[in-house]
């Protein structure tokens, strides 16, 4: 029971901090940030404890369930789950979030709405941890939506900027489209398996009889039920993780402050999609190792990786390049999941979280240092002014590109390529992934040359960022390097951790032919990418106004890439226009028909009230008045008898007595 309470505290503490911070005034900045960072620190420590628990020998899976709603015989249950996947993810999320919170203090110091920022950050952290530690698809969905809400609030943090407000709306609506699929999948899963708990001693929806039942039954177009459900859930994951075609919101989400980009759109929220697929992987693979669902995931992942990498080549905003890079890397992770390797995907996810957060925070540091300039064409030579930022950024870039041996990115990307190579269905995803890796190296090097090398082309006076911003950078850089150790196949620690069996150090794995060929290919790709980029961008000085060398090489292609393959314009012309037309139709309906009906109803009631008024005036009032007149006349008649003469009264008395006597006499005889 204590374990359950401990696990529950991990999302609850940031939630409490968010609640308390929402009540604070704008001026109580120090209190707000202290509260939030303290709550997050405690959560990190508890997550670390949970992680250590899962390091025990044997496979750890503890669940704590409780019933939320009962209706009739059915009930909805929520629960918490502690297993290697969740614990590792939770530790990563809490730790990276903590570093970013500390970084935000420096970054948002001059902002007026500092307190609100920390409140939303804490809310996001709580929701994300809820997604990670949940044992029930329903709780996951609830926290999923909360994550979406927090993302909306944070992207649109500077809501008075129209572009930021629009970007927030776009993010929310696009992910909502995906969430529709998620909801349908969840409903179908509940009806197919009778429970939404993942693991429930054999009765959960991811284990045993329920799973095999779903795999064997077929639904529409001959797909197994498990495949249909998996594809629907993948809609939600694709929306959240920015897979094609729901990727359009991620680059626009850069309108938010840089810590938001680092936390949400690099490390955690976009990883939630990958995490979800990893979590419900048994459903994906229920119909076989190469089920339709998994194939779809792999193809979409590979395509997204290549697509986004191509677009990133032609971007000029420092954060946008990183955003498309994130989309591309998420494609890699989805590809890894699609070819059946949950471990490779999770390793890449965790490594990516660290170095992408590092890169975003580094970019933030650069932006801060050149006073809010974001176009790379107006930067240059920053490494002289901001050395710490430069070194840490370089480490992150090398990890992302997959520079061999010392950087975690190399090992994780290599593992993915290895798995993709061994996929029995097709070799094309492998080829697409390799091309994407090459392009990754290319555009990152391009960015490095534009930003850090050459002469400074801007107008501000760049300066190094304060320690509160650079120290988290250094910590993340250290992790980017250190995580390479557990990721090598010589010591497949992640693999062993994920499955619960011990690992042994085996250097001979490094020289297996299998491994060497793919590793060699990776090294070749990276060298190619960096080399070509150096040739194009490194040798001649870059200018701010002249077109990109690639553009002068092949202008139409470059233009298409720069315009992001016109996907946004396509959506605008089709979906948005259709919805606008529908809106006009509904407005007409509302104005004419509904309002008309209301006016008619109002008219009826007005008529009734007028009739009532007439009735009142001529019937009630008249009757009342005339009866009052009659009463008055009667009264005046009666008052004539009140002569004031006693004897008159006495006479009446006497007559009355006589009458009484007569009555008594008549009654008794």
């Amino acid at each position: 029971m204590h374990l359950a309470l401990l696990i529950a505290l991990v999302p609850l503490l940031p939630l409490l901090a968010a609640g308390l911070t929402s009540l604070l005034r704008r001026e109580q900045r120090v209190f707000a940030s202290t509260l939030v960072i303290a709550a997050q620190s405690v959560s990190t420590i508890i997550a670390l404890g949970a992680f250590l628990i899962t390091l025990r020998h044997g496979f750890v899976r503890e669940t704590f369930d409780f019933t939320w709603l009962t209706f009739g015989t059915a009930n909805l249950q929520l629960g918490l789950l502690l297993d290697p996947l969740g614990a590792g993810m939770a530790l990563m999320v809490t730790f990276v979030s903590l570093l970013i919170f500390i970084y935000s203090h420096g970054y948002m110091k001059e902002d007026r709405n500092y307190t609100r920022f920390f409140c939303f950050l804490s809310l996001f952290s709580a929701a994300m941890l809820g997604v990670v530690l949940s044992n029930s698809l329903l709780l996951t969905f609830i926290c999923w939506e909360l994550v979406g809400l927090a993302s909306y609030l944070l992207i649109g943090f500077w809501f008075h900027k129209p572009s930021a407000a629009a970007a927030a709306k776009k993010a929310f609506i696009t992910t909502r489209v995906g969430d529709m699929g998620f909801l349908l999948g969840m409903l179908w899963l509940y009806s197919a398996s009778g429970t939404l708990l993942f693991y429930d001693n054999g009765a959960g929806c991811l284990e045993g009889a329920a799973l095999t039942a779903m795999a064997t039954k077929t639904a529409c177009v001959g797909l197994a039920v498990s495949n249909c459900i998996a594809l629907l859930i993948f809609c939600g994951a694709a929306g959240k993780s920015g897979q094609f075609p729901l990727h359009v919101w991620l680059p626009d989400a850069m309108e938010g402050p840089t810590p938001v980009s680092a936390l949400i759109h690099a490390a955690t929220m976009v990883a939630a999609g990958v995490f979800l697929v990893a979590r419900v992987f048994p459903i994906f693979s229920a119909a076989g190792e190469t089920s339709v669902a998994l194939q779809t995931v792999a193809w979409i992942g590979a395509f997204t990786a290549l697509f986004a990498a191509l677009i990133a080549v032609a971007q000029t905003d420092i954060k946008r390049i990183l955003a498309y890079s994130t989309v591309s890397q998420l494609g890699f992770m989805m590809l890894a999941l699609g070819v059946g390797s949950v471990t490779a995907a999770m390793v890449h996810l965790i490594a990516h979280a660290f170095f992408k957060a590092l890169l975003f925070m580094g970019a933030g540091s650069v932006i801060h240092g050149v006073h809010e300039e974001q176009d790379i064409r107006n930067m240059g030579g920053i490494r002289k002014y901001m050395p710490v930022t430069f070194v840490t950024y370089a480490i992150g870039m090398m990890a992302l590109c997959g520079v061999p041996f010392f950087f975690s990115g190399f090992w994780s990307k290599d593992a993915i390529l290895h798995e993709a190579h061994g996929w029995p269905v097709s070799h094309w995803p492998f080829i697409m992934a390799a091309a994407a890796a090459c392009l990754t190296a290319f555009y990152m090097t391009r960015q490095m040359f534009y930003v850090f090398f050459g002469k400074y082309r801007g107008h501000a006076h760049p300066h190094e960022s304060p320690a509160v911003m650079t120290v988290p950078l250094m910590i993340l850089a250290a992790f980017a390097v250190l995580l390479s150790i557990p990721a090598t196949p010589a010591w497949p620690w992640f693999e062993g951790y994920g499955k619960g069996h011990p690992v042994t150090l085996a250097f001979e794995k490094l020289v297996e032919h299998d491994f060497l060929s793919i590793a060699g290919l990776s090294i070749l790709i990276v060298t190619l990418g960096i080399g070509i980029a150096w040739m194009i961008y490194g040798r001649r000085p870059l200018s701010a106004t002249a077109p990109d060398p690639l553009e002068s090489f092949w202008a139409p292609g470059f233009k298409t890439l720069a315009n992001r393959f016109y996907v946004d314009e396509l959506y605008n012309a089709t979906v948005v226009r259709a919805l606008a037309g529908l809106g006009v139709l509904f407005a007409w309906f509302d104005r004419r028909i509904l309002a008309g009906a209301i006016r008619a109803a109002a008219g009826i009631s007005v008529t009734f009230s007028k009739l009532g008024d007439l009735f009142e005036k001529f019937t009630l009032n008249l009757g009342f008045d005339s009866s009052c007149g009659g009463l008055r006349d009667c009264g005046s008649l009666f008052s004539e008898w009140e002569s004031g003469r006693v004897q008159g009264y006495l006479r009446f008395l006497g007559v009355g007595v006589v009458v009484l006597l007569a009555i008594i006499g008549w009654l008794f005889t």
Binding site: G648, R651, G654, A662, G665, T669
Partner: protein
């Protein structure tokens, strides 16, 4: 006193006892009619006195000697005198009564009411079986016994009447006092 009353009692029932009741009754009725009808107030008051005396004699004849004497003492001695004094003090401008003695409403209604009531009462009286009882033997009503009862069973009514008389005395005195000049 007692002896006197006893002798009175014996006398009342010796001979022609009923005439001893009927003749004073007739006188009483005539005097009452006169009292009701006479125009002159003093005359009316005096006829009233005569009527009271006759009633007292009837009481004595019926055997309630104490009551009869009380009637004579109180009514004749006090009430009638009081009425005469009140007539004196209110000094109607026309003691002879130039105007009609009857009220503005006219005598007809009152006479009719009285007649009606009389008829109803007589109907009851002469149809009731209770009233047809025979004359019982002469009762004895010694004053001592009356005194005992007054001080015994009827002590509460006695006290109440005492309070009433006191209140009436004080009230009458207050009411009839001269208005104090402010």
């Amino acid at each position: 006193m007692n002896e006197f009353l006893q002798r009175l009692n014996a006398l009342s029932w010796d001979a022609c006892s009923q005439w001893l009741v009927l003749i004073p009754s007739g006188v009483m009725l005539l005097a009452a009619a006169a009292a009701a009808a006479l125009r002159n107030l003093i005359h009316a008051a005096l006829c009233l006195t005569l009527s009271f005396i006759a009633l007292g004699i009837v009481f004595i004849a019926l055997g309630a000697e104490f009551v009869g004497l009380v009637q004579l003492l109180v009514y004749v001695g006090a009430v009638a005198m009081l009425i005469v004094f009140a007539i004196l003090l209110t000094r109607p401008s026309d003691l002879a009564g130039a105007k009609s003695p009857f009220a503005g409403l006219g005598p007809v209604g009152g006479i009719l009411t009285g007649a009606g009531l009389l008829v109803a009462l007589l109907a009851f009286i002469f149809s009731s079986p209770v009233a047809k009882t025979a004359l019982p033997p002469a009762p004895v009503a010694p004053v001592a016994k009356i005194g005992e009862l007054l001080m015994g069973s009827y002590i509460v009514p006695l006290q109440v009447v005492g309070v009433l008389l006191t209140a009436a005395l004080i009230g009458a005195a207050v009411l009839a006092m001269e208005d104090k000049q402010p």
